[in-house]
């Protein structure tokens, strides 16, 4: 990663709407924010990628279902397979499950309502590039804002996730009906993480909290900064 500042890419799909927020948070971390346009099959040499929240392609068909075919996804998949740190937030999590970079699926909230709230979660795994800066068992208060955040996987997959310690964040108050109160998971290689809560929304004390920087900033530790 050379001697320069860490470069963190943020994908921008049509309909992404937390892209600017993620770029702003990256800037606050002291890393270099890099916009990754959906139609551009180029990761521009970034050290890590955030797939941000929003309603990519209007969430039409299914959230994330169309975005996974965007041109930027091919190099992103290669990056993920070769161990590059990738974080999917909210719609980004949905995109990563649709792309099969993460197991499971995000169903409609059990309330059948959009939910925007702040919820307490527990950090269950700290051996990922996106939680290395947290303490195991640490509790964070993070914002959620989604219509489809109800994590679902078949029992065998759920058992595997639990056995392998791949549940990264767990709700202490489940806002959407997720199986096993799962708020975030990682892939087998642990480099790809998907979470429903929005760390970029709590990355500035001016808005009342910067707890989200613990998650976003974790990637800098692995990067040797």
């Amino acid at each position: 990663m050379g001697g320069g500042r860490v470069r963190i890419g943020v994908t921008v799909f049509p309909g992404s709407n937390c892209d600017r927020d993620a770029l702003h948070a990256v800037e606050r971390l002291g890393a270099v924010p890099v916009e990754l346009w959906h139609a551009d099959p180029d990761l521009k040499g970034v050290d890590a990628v955030i797939v941000p929240g929003g309603f990519s392609y209007g969430d039409y068909l299914r959230p994330g279902a169309i975005a996974r075919f965007a041109k930027v996804m091919a190099p992103l998949e290669d990056f993920a397979f070769s161990g590059g740190p990738v974080l999917g937030v909210c719609n980004g999590f949905q995109v990563l499950t649709e792309a099969h970079l993460l197991p499971g699926a995000l169903l409609r909230n059990i309330s059948m309502r959009f939910v925007c709230d702040r919820v307490r979660v527990r950090v269950e795994a700290t051996d990922t590039p996106w939680t290395a800066g947290c303490e195991a068992g640490e509790e964070l208060a993070l914002p959620v804002a989604h219509n489809e955040g109800n994590y679902f996987a078949d029992p065998a997959t759920l058992a595997e996730l639990e056995d392998e310690g791949r549940v990264v964040l767990r709700y202490l108050e489940n806002p959407n009906g997720s199986a096993n109160d799962i708020a975030g998971v990682c892939n087998e290689g642990r480099n790809v993480v998907g979470i429903m809560p929005h760390p970029e929304r709590v990355s500035d004390p001016a808005l009342g909290s910067d707890e989200g920087l613990k998650i976003l900033g974790s990637v800098l530790l692995g990067a040797g900064v």
Binding site: N17, F55, R113, F114, C116, A145, H198, R201, L207, G208
Partner: protein, 737 residues
């Protein structure tokens, strides 16, 4: 169809038709008549309200753009400005609540976008019939649920946070809900865009979605009373596509940033007709449109249908010919349509062609110049028949705990959390104070500054006293901004009224405007944009006259703000008044507990109110106070309960305070003192060690130390003693269950 039947079906009167013939010097064809029909509707032409609207003050030091553009604009400092406007979508929401509300949000976002501003905040003022205890309760619940879903469905997806608003339920709104959406946009002063077309030979480019048959005659529909037939006008309601809007926003902002547009206008009511004729009239030029060039969703559309279609997510831009290629290329990058559909011409006409053949021509200034109906303002009889409300006839409650619990559980006073939890109120990461406080506070990234915004309406009050209610509506907004520490700078409004052709409706409209104008003058908050929604009537009568006011204020240091929540144990709690009389007239207490809508609430003393609000704001700005709230519906007891619940900290009134209040402002009645309503009164809380400083700041003002924060109960003398847990249980109810 005879000529008479045709123009009547289009909502034009015989006199109006005659005037059209006179202006044109000939009979109009159907297309031309359609153009007049939509442009001369109340919704577009303000033909009944224009003489009254002139009353509003609309100038001020910070005003960069007053009424007449897509949105008003005020300067906030550091080179930043705010563009904002509020608009109604009542009729569409009455027949198709989800799409009606969603497209209301979409439309107001485009108004702000047309000024060149990035939309950064949404708010909504809503009114419905009661959710329970009404013959229409089932329908009211459906409308409420779907309107809230529609607002969230659009706002959440488009990525603009919904940060505030208000809702009330009353029988007067059964069958005729009110859905008023407000948008605030942020823009650099030098980037302000306007809509006047200019430059003969410049091209007219349609950006965004394709044009379909949705929303044909929507503006005319919105300017009529609701009836059984309205249901059949469901096809007049447009369908929203927030994804297309999101792309249109990003595309237009990039086009403006690159200096590729001469002017920009959104397509709202009356579609291309209204946008093109307004752009032409403002620029003193003509515009030629070829409807054959307009990308359509369906085959066989007539030229007039294309001209007045209200298909959503479209913008109209004037572009210099040499820049058109780049404009269309960028539109393609964003995946939205971009098509040259006409050009700016030297004549002053809106000329319509279809595949090259002229199918209609009308001077643009005539379309923009709807006839004006000035009516006599006559006091309607009902105002003199409203009985006075003598507290003596209302039984004093035996159990105040029970009264408080019942008040806090009422849909008009309970927590709005179950609503705003369905709105993304944080996207954009600018929301400093989220919904639930007196006003939303937003930061402006890259500066220390912020702005605050609130919407308020007082329909019942305006019904009982239009002029006083109008003033009180503005006063409430002024107080709400002051409570969070913002300096109110300007207002927008939605005037929701019944038929202006009836004595009651016209009088209420005139009275409310008078009261609002007086207050805006005293407060120095000009009205810079707004919208009129008349004919809010069903076969059961008119709605409460309900002007809603959206007001924005500026914070020089966004970190110095206050919220209602009690923040510490042991804080001194102080009520600061402006000398207003406490009264049960028109109060929530009289209605909720005693079932009475009667009496005339005392009119606010605007000067005294301003002085007090300005004091509270100064105390917040100086950092002395971080906990402030105004007393509104439900009086002091509800305000105190809200502060305790928000902070999770209780309060105990000082010994003897209840007796003093009862004997004083209560005139011997504890309910009047505690639950009666007044204007211009605030509650603040400060730590014990700041008490001396507070007293010093309060010299010359009427104030009263009522108690101290602490514990987990609300205790007032021997009358009220209830745990926060019990209060929370009723207050935090889910309004959708």
């Amino acid at each position: 169809m005879s000529v008479r039947e045709t123009y009547s079906a289009l909502g034009l009167s015989e006199a109006e038709y005659g005037r059209i013939v006179e202006l044109l010097g000939r009979e109009p064809n159907y297309l031309e008549l359609s153009l007049f029909s939509v442009m001369w509707s109340e919704h577009c032409g303000y033909k009944n309200s224009r003489p009254l609207l002139r009353r509003f003050p609309n100038e001020g030091e910070r005003v960069l753009q007053g009424p007449g553009e897509n949105a008003g604009v005020v300067e906030v400092g550091d080179g930043w400005a705010l563009a904002f406007k509020m608009e109604s979508h009542n009729h569409p929401s009455a027949v198709e609540p989800y799409e009606g509300a969603a497209t209301g949000v979409g439309g107001i976002i485009r108004d702000v976008l047309a000024m060149g501003a990035r939309p950064v905040a949404l708010l909504d003022s809503l009114r419905f019939g009661p959710l329970e205890g009404s013959p229409d309760a089932g329908r009211n619940r459906y409308l409420f649920r779907e309107v809230v879903r529609g607002i969230g469905g659009y706002g959440n997806a488009v990525g603009v946070p919904t940060v505030g608003g208000e809702v009330e339920f009353a029988e007067a709104y059964s069958g005729n809900p009110l859905v008023n959406a407000m948008c605030v946009g942020l823009i650099r002063v030098e980037d302000l865009t306007r809509s006047a077309a200019s430059g003969e030979g410049n091209l007219v480019v349609l950006l965004g979605s394709k044009t379909g048959r949705d929303g044909i005659h929507g503006a005319t529909f919105a300017s009529d009373e609701l009836s059984e037939e309205s249901e059949s006008k469901r096809s007049n309601v447009q369908v929203g596509d927030p994804f297309a809007e999101k792309m249109a926003i990003e595309c237009c902002l990039e086009l403006l940033e690159k200096g590729l547009l001469v002017s920009l206008q959104d397509l709202g009511a009356a579609g291309i007709t209204s946008s093109a004729s307004e752009m032409a009239a403002k620029g003193g030029v003509g515009i030629e449109i070829d409807t054959g060039l307009v990308p359509r969703r369906e085959g066989g559309m007539e030229a007039w249908e294309v001209m007045i279609s209200e298909s959503q997510e479209r913008m109209l831009a004037v572009v210099e010919p040499e820049k058109a290629g780049e404009v269309l290329r960028l539109a393609g990058c964003y995946g939205i349509g971009g098509t040259v559909i006409g050009r700016v011409a030297g004549h002053g006409d809106l000329r319509v062609f279809h595949d090259g053949e002229q199918v209609g021509t009308v001077p643009a200034e005539h379309l923009a110049d709807a006839p004006v109906y000035e009516r006599e303002v006559v006091r309607p009889a009902y105002l003199d028949e409203i009985p006075d409300l003598d507290p003596g006839v209302l039984p004093e409650p035996e159990d105040y705990n029970e009264v408080l619990l019942k008040m806090l559980a009422h849909p008009n006073l309970c927590s709005r959390r179950s609503i705003y939890r369905q709105y993304d109120h944080e996207v954009g990461t600018n929301t400093v104070v989220a919904p639930g406080a007196d006003a939303a506070v937003m930061r402006i990234k890259g500066t220390r500054r912020g702005f605050a915004v609130t919407t308020d309406g007082r329909g019942r009050h305006c019904y009982l006293d239009p002029r006083g209610g109008g003033a009180a509506t503005v006063a409430e907004a002024y107080r709400n901004l002051s409570c969070v520490g913002a300096e109110p700078v300007a207002a927008t409004d939605c005037l929701n009224f019944g038929s202006p052709e009836k004595r009651e409706g016209y009088y209420q409209l005139a009275g409310c405007i008078e009261g609002m104008s007086e207050a805006c003058e005293v407060f120095g908050t000009p009205v810079v944009s707004g919208n009129v929604s008349l004919y809010n009537e069903t076969d059961r009568g008119a709605i409460y006259p309900t002007p809603t006011v959206g007001m924005v204020g500026v914070l020089e240091d966004v970190g110095r703000h206050a919220t209602p929540a009690f923040k510490r144990e042991g804080d001194v709690v102080v009520v600061i008044g402006s000398g207003s009389r406490v009264s049960l007239a028109g109060s929530d207490y009289a209605q909720i507990i005693h079932g009475q809508v009667a009496g005339r609430p005392p009119r606010p003393n605007l000067q005294a109110e301003k002085r007090t609000a300005d004091l509270v704001r100064e105390m917040v700005r100086s950092g002395l106070v971080d906990t402030a709230h105004d007393i509104s519906g439900g009086g002091e007891i509800v305000a105190v309960a809200e502060m305790a619940l928000a902070g999770g900290i209780g309060i105990e009134y000082t010994e003897g305070e209840l007796e003093r209040m009862t004997a004083g402002q209560g005139g011997g009645r504890a309910d009047v003192a505690l639950i009666g309503e007044e204007s211009g009164t605030f509650i603040v809380a400060v730590p014990e060690e700041r008490w001396d400083d507070l007293q010093e700041a309060l010299v010359g003002f009427a104030y009263d130390q009522i108690g101290e924060t602490g514990g987990d109960r609300l205790k007032i003398g021997d009358l009220v003693d209830v745990s926060l847990e019990e209060l929370r249980e009723v207050y935090e109810r889910d309004l959708f269950e």
